[in-house]
Symmetry: C2
Subunit: 273 residues, 2 copies
Amino acid sequence: MTEIAAPPHPFDAAVTLRAAEDGRTRGRTTPDYTNMVGPFGGVTAAALLRAVQQHPDRLGDPISLTVNYAGPVADGDFDITARAVRTNRTNQHWQLELTQDGVVATTATAVFGTRRDTWSDTELDVPEVPSAETVPARTLPEFIAWARNYEMRFVEGAVPEQDAGEHPDSTTTLWVRDTPARPLDFPALTALSDVFYPRVFLRRGRYMPAGTVSLTVYFHADAAQLDTQGDDFVLGTARTHRFSQGYFDQAAQLWGRDGTLLATSHQLVYFKD
Amino acid sequence: MTEIAAPPHPFDAAVTLRAAEDGRTRGRTTPDYTNMVGPFGGVTAAALLRAVQQHPDRLGDPISLTVNYAGPVADGDFDITARAVRTNRTNQHWQLELTQDGVVATTATAVFGTRRDTWSDTELDVPEVPSAETVPARTLPEFIAWARNYEMRFVEGAVPEQDAGEHPDSTTTLWVRDTPARPLDFPALTALSDVFYPRVFLRRGRYMPAGTVSLTVYFHADAAQLDTQGDDFVLGTARTHRFSQGYFDQAAQLWGRDGTLLATSHQLVYFKD
């Protein structure tokens, strides 16, 4: 009798890294997470985080991650080099590069560390929203392949219909989770922080060339707090502060259904109108 | 007759870099910008930005900067290496390291680029505050040397007195400028983005060990918009979203007096209570 192992979740397949020469690790883009140009930036960020997580020298869990999208990632293999530039008693600083055929496509820095009990407080209020079950699921347009891996229930700021016209603000709030369902972990949370389509589409009511230049994620929860979320929905909200001269920022929060602020995230996005 | 040149502004002295061996540049900490441990993080960030600005390969102006404070910077000389990892048509990605005696103290990444006219909008509202002239100037405690280089007029959330007791929120809003006055430019704006003392001091009403782990600045204004500010006050506001397990985030905005959103900034801070 031949036993057939279940295939991995598409997200795990997309962030699988295997050892390569010179201490590098090698991954491969998957069609499941294709964006308009190259792979979904969130999954690239998750693969970079994963490279640190599985590095033998790694200390603790993710504290912060910054990813700079320097150029397009082509379909196929990519190499990641992860270097611990400094290890302190409770934290560790990493520099990363993602290359294809020796050309840098993405750079990143990460801080990992151990956490300990201290005075704590979440000062920000959870957005007041209806429960996930009462909000209809909605898909992104078919040509955005990666979005098919997320169940999205938009509370406000859904993707505009073609020629929807201008929208007064840039806020999108949604319940979101992987589909098929998958327990939340740091790479999945990293990818979720980039799940918001470019805010300029919402404001202008139409699509246009736009791409993340730099993405930063601050992890506010530890592994145990992520475990608690299981494969439940996460509440995400994102908005822009200023659009100017071909760039805008996008600030996001990701909340657990239990009211835990799991991560805050920021990105700077290029656009061409 | 001997002509004596005016000494440079203390800020310019603190971010002066001279060419060193192997394409590196060398700077030197100045007592003017000393913090509790090592130099003020804002001036270190400004020196890193400056290293890119004066690099012969530099394209355009700053778009984003992320600085990771990996370890303390000792008083004395430091070396900066700046490497353009990828140059595109309209933007350029940099990796930087600040070392002392070959040990990495700080790493950074920066995106520089050219800007062009597009649809623009500032979606965030300017905080409603009294004019700078009607708010009294206040100094930080004498042992925080760097703060003496800033004129600070706190609208809310001034530095707590010793044993002030808990404060209900973490927001500080202030009018701030270099003293002596100095025209605003990208390095000065970078330093200003770190001018907010750690939010945990305000919430807890007391000092404790705290230090920035990672700082990101998004530049929303171009050089002409900075020039327009002259040496006038900038309105800064900062707050925290979550304090948890020895870390908290700090989100800041810097506005020109004319209502221009000049920069938004984020940092993750370590604290020990």
